[in-house]
């Protein structure tokens, strides 16, 4: 009995909300949750209103408005009606905040995850192909299908692929 009770901790309101937010995904890359992306900054629980503070990724990313709507919907489904979503510009979002699990999911999805830290030297080659794991790849374009990605091609298996840029 005792050992079971020790494992049941009261779940705080904030933890509850956090677990709901973990079900909200990026509309552009549906394998990633907003927790994987590392954009949830803060949750302020109050009687009258719940505030979720998130970091926008790229300035022009159209997914941000969609993510805000999806957060509202997810929370409303769990009875949170009064929700305020605040975009915090500072500190600026970086791919360093992406979870290891998120990077693994990206790779399985066919997108090469960011391979260095944002403050590190810029990688010009050696991005690993998510299909065949070869690092013999080349940059096709700095800009890809969305703001966060660059276009690469593998010189070995010849497959083109997206690289989630280090930002």
């Amino acid at each position: 009995m005792n050992s079971i009770q020790q494992h049941i901790k009261p779940v705080s309101e904030e933890e509850k909300i956090r677990s709901i937010l973990e079900t909200v995904t990026d509309p552009e890359i549906p394998v990633l949750t907003i927790a994987d992306l590392g954009i949830v900054r803060k949750i302020n629980v109050a009687e009258e209103e719940t505030e979720v503070v998130i970091s926008p990724t790229y300035s022009g990313c159209p997914a941000m408005d969609m993510i805000a709507v999806n957060i509202r919907l997810a929370l409303a489904a769990h009875g949170y009606q009064k929700v305020k979503i605040t975009f915090a510009l500072s500190p600026a979002w970086t791919t360093d905040w992406m979870s290891e699990e998120g990077k693994q999911k990206l790779k399985e999805y066919g997108i090469a995850p960011p391979q260095t830290r944002s403050d590190g030297p810029r990688l010009t080659g050696g991005i690993e192909c998510p299909q065949c794991q070869s690092t013999n790849t080349r940059l096709v374009s700095e800009f890809g299908s969305t703001a966060c990605k660059a276009l690469y091609q593998c010189n070995d298996c010849k497959e083109p692929f997206d690289y989630f840029k280090c930002h």
Binding site: Y58, G60, C61, S90, A92, V140, E142, F143, A147
Partner: protein, 245 residues
């Protein structure tokens, strides 16, 4: 202070919006698919940056001002963007050169803004800077490729320099609201010239000297192109006031 801060936020918002609009004209018309995607991605980054500045200006102004009323319902003389960014796209070379000349300036300016005392300006500039670094890299590589390319591409870059250079002086010519905000754009000139000289050198392009410089955009006196841009950009809201998606 607040009036100057609003003017300054609008100046940055207008400059990034108008350049975004110009670049967006390339959508579906880029010389190759990858570069069509690149220029429209840059357009999107700039649009996002302009939204932050408009939202901030709207908050400071209060009342019924929103990012949309500021972008869609102001008149030409109220726009405070740089003359450089309203210039026509011309050919790909001219578009590239305009982007490079501006991005190189924006990079230095936004670095300087990191030391400003207005928190929101600092935050927007810090966030935008990460994107600007990409724009500088991409556009400078293209300036070098075209300048040091074929006889034809080199000749076109010379023509682009001839078209655009006269609008670069305005970037370093402070408006009253910049002075009031304690922003010293004149201090950026040497750093900018040094970077441009380096890139032009690699591109085998000459840096013009003692050129007549046009200015006025920051105070709302625009070139003949501005009205046409706004006519297109604002058409829907002017024809169907308050319409929404």
């Amino acid at each position: 202070m607040s009036k100057h801060l609003i003017d300054y936020a609008l100046h940055l918002a207008d400059t990034t919006l108008i350049l975004s609009q110009r670049n967006a004209e390339w959508c579906g018309h880029g010389p190759v698919l990858e570069q069509d995607i690149a220029i429209t991605n840059i357009s999107l980054d700039l649009l996002g940056q302009s939204r932050y500045f408009y939202q901030y200006a709207a908050t400071l102004m209060g009342g019924s001002a929103t990012e949309d009323t500021l972008a869609y319902l102001r008149k030409e003389r109220e726009f405070k963007n740089l003359l450089l960014v309203e210039q026509p796209n011309g050919d790909w070379g001219q578009t590239i050169l305009r982007q490079y000349l501006y991005s190189q300036f924006q990079q230095l300016l936004f670095q300087q803004l990191q030391h400003h005392n207005d928190e929101q300006i600092v935050a927007i500039a810090a966030k935008s800077l990460k994107e600007t670094n990409y724009h500088v890299r991409w556009s400078s590589e293209w300036v070098i490729r075209l300048g040091d390319g074929t006889t034809e591409s080199h000749a076109r870059m010379l023509k682009a320099i001839d078209e655009l250079w006269r609008y670069t002086g305005e970037m370093f010519h402070p408006a009253a609201y910049e002075k009031e905000m304690g922003i010293d754009v004149t201090a950026l000139r040497n750093g900018w010239e040094e970077k441009v000289k380096h890139v032009f050198g690699e591109a085998t392009l000459p840096v013009p000297e003692n050129t007549f410089m046009q200015h006025g955009g920051k105070e709302g006196a625009h070139t003949e192109h501005m009205g046409y841009i706004l006519a297109e950009l604002q058409y829907v809201q002017r024809a169907y006031p308050g319409s929404q998606w």
